[in-house]
């Protein structure tokens, strides 16, 4: 089980790496992949709830970014650009599963995976179970806010939404999460 402390930092040499990578420097892009892979994989795993799909989608994201790096405008938000590609790939993945609506929260027929079962902290395990029950479109926005520290504007850019819709999705995700955690916490629902 991997449990990482949040790392929302840019690579210290990100601008230079991007510049070199755009000119064909493969080790430069490989360094960017090294920096962002875990974050992408983590986000995609919590969206897809499938470790194999998460690996596939993270790989697809990095390779598409590699092939399309010249379309990125230097000086803008590289992490946002990368996560946008990841989200598009996830959306294609959902379509390929032939679901026209939001995915059921738990794709794993057998419920908790080994990661959740191994979670030493029961509170975290419960949080994980609650998060799985948040619809994926809300979950995606909330995780970008909580794990990547993105603003509503940045979340909107990643998910292809208006800022207001991004705010609303985070609102709904938090509301759902708090309602699911409420019975244990004994709190009132807003």
């Amino acid at each position: 089980m991997a449990s990482s402390t949040p790392n929302r930092d840019r690579h210290p040499d990100e601008a230079a790496l991007i510049d070199r990578a755009r000119r064909g420097d493969r080790p430069a892009f490989a360094a960017l992949v090294e920096h962002y892979w875990d974050r992408l994989h983590r986000w995609l795993y919590h969206l897809a709830r499938d470790r194999h799909a998460a690996e596939d989608l993270a790989q697809e994201t990095c390779l598409k970014a590699f092939a399309g790096l010249r379309t990125f405008t230097p000086g803008t938000n590289f992490a946002g650009w990368l996560f946008r590609i990841a989200h598009n790939n996830f959306a294609n993945h959902c379509r390929s599963l032939r679901r026209g609506e939001a995915l059921p929260d738990d794709l794993a027929a057998d419920g908790e995976g080994p990661e959740e079962q191994a979670q030493a902290n029961e509170a975290l395990a419960e949080l994980g179970r609650a998060l799985r029950r948040v619809p994926p479109e809300f979950r995606a926005a909330l995780l970008l806010r909580a794990e990547e520290g993105m603003s509503f504007r940045e979340i909107a850019d990643v998910l292809g939404l208006t800022e207001e819709t991004a705010r609303w999705r985070v609102f709904k995700a938090r509301q759902r999460l708090m309602n699911l955690l409420a019975p244990r916490l004994g709190q009132e629902k807003p």
Binding site: N92, D157, F171
Partner: protein
């Protein structure tokens, strides 16, 4: 300002732990809302600590990027992802970019399909030299990935057909060419794991039990065919190892498909 309104404001805030002044005034006077705010902030702060399975693919993707053909030939200027902040173009340029985007995406798909197949190869360091047989087979896999949607039953079926052809035609044709047979065997082992079984996993949610059972049966037949070849008393000694490897791969592939089938039944 009542508690329900305050809590809704906190839910909608970019940072619930740093609310605006009017909300702070209410929180200062309301222990219940303070406690609610604490729980909300704590839940959100804990999200990054949720367990995630370790990734096994990063190093391979990095190697692929370091060794892949330069994609610059496939990229086109002007195609962009998203809107607003990343695209500082005129309307005319945006129009040109839309036209170029289709080309760039198709090229990216080809690069991805090639990269995907390359990842399926055995990964010694350094890489083995290219061989015409392996190159030809790689191209066929790329054609299948280009022609079929990812995660589709169609891709699974075409991969299964391709695997059958390797066993029932290519292996037989290579019996008198040990190096060619070794290439076919190495390709088959990697293909089963990284293409066929991977595609089955991805397509599993909408494959029927009958389809999975049929696929397992095909892999069983492949193993049987290879075992029959191994029992041939005229078999060249140098062919034994590659055929054994192929039979083991077919057996492992069948078992993996049966595991996927069992999970569906559960």
């Amino acid at each position: 300002m009542n508690c329900e309104l305050v809590q809704r404001r906190l839910l909608a805030a970019e940072s619930p732990e740093q609310p605006p002044a009017d909300v702070r005034r209410h929180l200062a006077a309301c222990p219940a809302c303070r406690a609610w705010q604490r729980r909300l902030a704590q839940a959100e702060q804990q999200l990054p600590y949720l367990a995630t399975p370790p990734s096994e693919r990063k190093d391979r993707v990095v190697r692929l990027i370091l060794n892949a053909p330069n994609p610059a030939a496939h990229a086109r200027t002007g195609a962009g992802y998203g809107r607003g902040a990343w695209s500082n173009t005129t309307a005319r340029e945006r129009g040109l970019r839309k036209a170029a985007l289709a080309i760039a995406m198709a090229a990216a798909l080809v690069v991805f399909a090639l990269a995907w197949w390359l990842l399926g190869q055995p990964t010694p360091a350094p890489q083995p030299p290219s061989h015409p047989t392996a190159d030809r087979l790689r191209k066929e896999v790329i054609q299948i990935t280009d022609a079929t949607p990812p995660g589709s039953a169609q891709r699974v079926e075409q991969f299964a057909d391709f695997g059958d052809r390797l066993v029932h035609q290519d292996v037989i044709a290579a019996q008198n060419e040990p190096e060619r047979l070794r290439q076919v065997a190495a390709f088959y082992v990697a293909f089963l794991h990284d293409d066929l079984v991977a595609s089955v996993r991805r397509a599993a949610p909408h494959l029927s039990r009958a389809q999975l059972e049929a696929l397992a049966h095909r892999l069983d037949r492949a193993e049987s065919a290879l075992s029959t070849m191994l029992g041939d008393r005229d078999l060249k000694p140098e062919n034994r190892k590659p055929l054994n490897e192929m039979a083991a791969a077919a057996r492992a592939g069948r078992n993996q498909v049966l595991e996927i089938l069992d999970r569906k039944a559960a």
